[in-house]
Symmetry: C2
Subunit: 388 residues, 2 copies
Amino acid sequence: MGTGAGEAGRVWAHVGQRFTETGYDVVVLGAGRMGTACALFLRRLAPDRRLLIVERGGLPNEEGATILAPGVWTILDVPAGRASEARWVNAQVAGELGPLPFQPRPLLDLHAGAVPGGRSTTATLARFPEAAALINPAALPFARVDEEAATYRPGSVALACGQGAVRAGADLLLNTHAHLLPGGVRLDRLTVTNTHEVVTHETREVRAGVTIVALGADGPPAAEQDLGAHTAHGRAYRQTPRLNTPSDDRTPTLRAGGLTLRPVSGGFTLIPPVHHRDPQGYVPTGGRLTGVPVGVRRETLEDLVTLMDALPPLATEALEVGRSLADVPGAWLALPGGRADAPPTHEEVAPGVHLLLGGPLADTLGLAVAYDLAARVAGVEGRPWEEG
Amino acid sequence: MGTGAGEAGRVWAHVGQRFTETGYDVVVLGAGRMGTACALFLRRLAPDRRLLIVERGGLPNEEGATILAPGVWTILDVPAGRASEARWVNAQVAGELGPLPFQPRPLLDLHAGAVPGGRSTTATLARFPEAAALINPAALPFARVDEEAATYRPGSVALACGQGAVRAGADLLLNTHAHLLPGGVRLDRLTVTNTHEVVTHETREVRAGVTIVALGADGPPAAEQDLGAHTAHGRAYRQTPRLNTPSDDRTPTLRAGGLTLRPVSGGFTLIPPVHHRDPQGYVPTGGRLTGVPVGVRRETLEDLVTLMDALPPLATEALEVGRSLADVPGAWLALPGGRADAPPTHEEVAPGVHLLLGGPLADTLGLAVAYDLAARVAGVEGRPWEEG
């Protein structure tokens, strides 16, 4: 039944497995890193509460922002006053959550003008010969290095947290679309027909004392449509094109003009800056590069074009801009408060219904905010990153 | 022929009037306020240049940003160092361009927190009883007044400048869609069929020594699609809903939280803040207010909802949010450099092809920037707003 310590929860992966539960103490919607982490921490902090995780896809979720998140931990991204929280997150992904891919990897932050703590880019590159071919030091003469930075895989974190939560007694219902109801959720269990159409196989209502909406960018619209709760949160569509320039474990993460070049699988993933939210009703479309349709949206192309002089490989065929949107990995990112620079947050949008949002800074603070919500729901005082 | 002083230009209003010209010294695309003003100033500064204005619609243009521009001149909107330019613009619309609607009208700038030059809102409202019913002084306790502010009608300015340019010798070709070519333009003269379809009646090519692209938000895409010129400009869709709360000539213009309430025709036009550009491919859509579809886009609704406590009429039926997009006046606004706070600008995007952009600050600086481009094309040194 998933109650009590030591007993694992149940997993319903497909509609052939009967689901007859009618109520839980806590239902978590979404098995991305925010939802799974919150579920895991809840199992630890309140093992007596019956808990169900509901996920539209599988575990790990193949869609959504978690799989495409950069997984770059750098002190440069940590808002003032939250360093101890961020270091706690670092310790979690570095081993506290179990053996996960984690790579200490300095981050080079490159600038056209002087910055506090900046040194000569040329001198800095002597330490990082793997990065030299990517950078035009004349265009980016100032560099600072975050020696503490690291890279990891948010998708692996979500998988580990989800599995950990189930081992610790959480139930997990996959391939299920959830709608919020007052006091609970309506669950549409999905199946695929012979003609590859996704349809609802059966619908159940489940009572929930507490509902945690961890649906990423889909969370605020769900709260609004299902409960009529107004929120001020926004979203942005972020594409992460690939750059096929060689990298290895010694290659630092690079950042210039807000663009992050994250070494991965022998090349780089480009993580463009999020300047502001996209308007409601925006449908992502590819742009044009010298008149030719490509899969990268125009706003991102502009960011890349601006940096072509400073980062010469961007001007070559090493940059995969694709021919259409489907060619370029991309996901909707939640923007807490509608802002591109706001940290992860949670908010009680209706009695017992908590919205949990990661967003652009989830790599450094997401797990701590998930913990904070779990502790609040569990009625636990104190946070592990607080001193003494 | 429209050359030489004293002789008026010709006007082609419909395809029944034969157009056989093959070349001009200068072609101005767009008869909004930027294009017509630039054409008028060019006739004055370089009367020997043969000049053609091409407009897709009529004069004044019923579409585009000019007709819906607020027409609010306030020193609060003038960027640092450009006050003399802005005062020159003020003098133009106040009478230099001829007798135009112009209303000296103080602007009340209201704030929740203290601002430099701010006084008590309650004390300030004693001077402006017409505005008292609109404002909750407890929510906006600080006010400053721009005593120099005025309101006018940018559409009237465009009409006066266009007519003035023609009287001064400019030719005017209406109902014509122009495409940029190297060294000239291709002109599609439009007509309407019996079934109300707009079709191209005939196409002509016209050589132009200089082309001025004053197509508002459509200018940068035209330069990009027709000439392959990359630009960094953006656009935003701004809706200007009506607020049916009484106003008269003594009612000041109000501003709070970036929202401008512009008295007009016995009520108010609301001019919401432009926070940032809209992405390429965005199609404006209405939002929802307490679940009901309305014509005002979501981002603007959020701005209005935030101010409902401070400006109580916004929470009443006096606010016309419409039922669909067609119910709410709105237009695409050019954003020079992609920024919402950038002043009007011009840029030579290809040899002899100048992009002329108004944007959010066109009310205070647009005519000066149009003059600056005219003077540059005419090879004239000095600007009338420069001292001594």
